[in-house]
């Protein structure tokens, strides 16, 4: 056996995904009317990738001279990304037909972005982190502007691109300072020697700039300005993909840096706690004032970045495992909600306000029930999975003597119930408007139902997933 083979075998899910992406690229260039072929190839490829990633969770290792971590958390995150990509691709097909933009390149870009995310989660070196972030972001910039005839979509793409490039500057500067102060870009080295360098101001400045760059990607306050506009203008399934996949990918890096060994100390813990509190407060309070459901979910995603940062600030295993649980649950509930919105949306970015959902409970009871499930889960009401995610995170904060942060989190969750349940109320207790239509295929409907069932399953049996999560790091 030659030297390379064991390395290649250990990154099976990543290689499979890259192969699928390249296959779709080839199909696109060879076949005319290639869209259906690309669609089914992507779906099948993602299912196979999930199948390959699942058994690898139990293994822990590294590959390519310490460039990648394999198995464990890398595979867990990969599965989250594959699920996000799968749901996004399925939902977007109906949606793109409505917007007159059904092209196979869409699936290709989703696959490439997912490759970037997998690299971010597996990265054991800051160079891989940077390459993964760029691969993901460049694809997302294009996906946000995929509806080329729409001014909102163009605005979304350009805004995301300019601010994203700016944030990348911070990230790179941070990496440069870390290299300058330690002589290494290896995340393993940095976490092992964190305490040695923690007194170096150059090192701390590097960490600070790195946090700025990553906080932009997760949309935490005060680096959240782009979130509402970008999510509103981007094609609806893409907004869901950015809120779940891209956010989980950025979190995987932050967790890898600060929560592998819990070494971040008081300074960085306080910094993360402040970001968390600000995100929870601003996201939830401003979400109340929204009339557009996509903007409401955008502010809700800022708030959720805050909840998850709370788990990180806690700096203990409870908080970390809470985030890992919540990221998976959040992927299902948020993508489900964005999927349903994309079913309802009509040509020219219409039917996106709360009023357009009036009386949905009587006209389309199927969609209304599902939407209610996702809203209840986002609000953190048991028995849905959203509740347990928040529960673990807040317990982690209390155990870390950050009770104030947990109190802020619980209070803001109460505030959030108001706007999530407002949508449910509008659907069931207001008179129907005329002209409500929804268009979706059987496969999309099946996946939304599946997402709702998984949320219920995770909510009733959270310990089965948690047992796996505790073995990841």
């Amino acid at each position: 056996m030659d030297l390379l083979t064991p390395h290649l075998l250990s990154i099976g899910p990543l290689l499979t995904l890259v192969a699928v992406a390249l296959l779709v690229l080839l199909l696109e260039s060879i076949i005319t009317k290639s869209e259906p072929v690309s669609f089914w190839t992507s779906v099948a490829g993602l299912l196979v990738s999930i199948g390959i990633a699942v058994p690898g969770i139990a293994v822990h290792g590294s590959a390519f001279g310490g460039m990648l971590r394999t198995g464990g958390s890398a595979n867990y995150f990969s599965i989250i990304f594959f699920i996000c990509a799968l749901l996004t691709i399925v939902f977007s097909r109906d949606y793109l037909k409505k917007r007159d933009s059904v092209f196979g390149e869409f699936y290709l870009l989703i696959l490439f972005a997912t490759v970037g995310m997998v690299l971010m989660a597996a990265a054991a070196d800051l160079i891989i982190v940077f390459l993964g972030i760029e691969l993901m972001s460049i694809c997302l910039y294009v996906l946000a502007g995929f509806i080329r005839g729409s001014v909102l979509s163009n605005e979304s793409s350009l805004k995301y691109f300019l601010l994203g490039a700016f944030a990348t500057g911070f990230l790179l500067y941070g990496i440069a300072l870390l290299y300058g102060s330690t002589g290494s870009t290896s995340i393993t080295f940095l976490t092992e020697h964190f305490e040695t360098y923690a007194s170096s101001r150059l090192f701390l400045a590097g960490i600070g700039l790195l946090i700025v760059g990553l906080a932009f990607k997760i949309g935490a306050v005060p680096f959240h300005m782009w979130v509402p506009d970008v999510y509103q203008g981007a094609p609806t399934p893409v907004s869901g993909f950015m809120a779940t996949g891209a956010k989980a990918a950025a979190f995987s890096i932050i967790i890898g840096l600060f929560a592998q060994r819990f070494v971040h100390g008081v300074q960085i813990g306080t910094l993360l706690a402040i970001l968390a509190a600000a995100s929870m407060i601003l996201g939830n309070v401003v979400a109340i004032a929204q009339t557009n459901v996509k903007r409401m979910l955008a502010y809700s995603s800022i708030a959720h970045a805050g909840y998850m940062l709370t788990g990180l600030a806690a700096g203990n295993a409870y908080g970390r495992d809470g985030i890992l649980f919540y990221l998976l649950a959040y992927a299902f509930m948020n993508l489900g909600a964005f999927g349903l919105i994309s079913f309802m949306e009509q040509e020219g970015e219409k039917h996106l306000t709360f009023d357009d959902y009036a009386g949905l409970g009587t006209t389309k009871p199927f969609l209304a029930v599902l939407m209610s499930v996702f809203m209840f889960s986002l609000a953190g009401i048991p028995p849905f999975a959203g509740f347990f995610g928040k529960y673990y995170i807040f317990v982690g904060a209390v155990q870390a003597d950050m009770t104030w942060l947990a109190i802020v989190g619980v209070l803001m969750s109460v505030v959030s119930v108001f706007y999530y349940l407002r949508l449910v109320m509008v659907m069931y207790f207001q008179d129907t408007l005329i002209g409500q239509t929804a268009s979706y295929s059987a496969s999309s409907a099946a996946f939304v139902v599946l997402a709702a069932l998984i949320l219920l399953g995770l909510g009733v049996f959270p310990s089965s997933l948690l047992a796996i999560i505790t073995t990841l790091y």
Binding site: M67, F112, L131, A205
Partner: protein, 169 residues
Amino acid sequence: MTVDAILFFIVAAGAVASAVLMITGQNPVKSVLFLIVNFFCLAVLYLILHAQFIAIIQILVYAGAIMVLFLFVIMLLNLGTEEKHVDALNMKRSVAVILSCIVLFLILIAIGLPAAGTGGLPASALVNGTVETIGRDLFRQYLLPFEITSLLLLGAMVGVIVLAKKHFE
């Protein structure tokens, strides 16, 4: 003061001056030309650090290829002298200047002004910059990042074509 140090201060002053002139200039073509001056200054700084390969790449890729693209775009867009939007921007600009100064100040504190400039180059730096060492590292330790770069470029290419193509079939 050694020759290296004297050269450093001259070139560094040139880099800062050209960067400032670039962002304050009203004419986009002039800005681009100052940017080229800036790139050349940076290349000399790399040379002082014994990073020959990076220095050459800096000139070939940035001052050469990327700058030509910049000039092409500016000429295609046919930009005249920029209209002054001073009223709307004045407030934002002063806030931006203050914030930038604060960031600069904090970074200078972090780096530790007196500590910088002492020491000199480590012995390994003398050979690290050659094409040979970079090539060896690139295809051994950094093989994976090197390969990922090709995916990144491919993804970017697909993206650009999707956005720029006139008619989709």
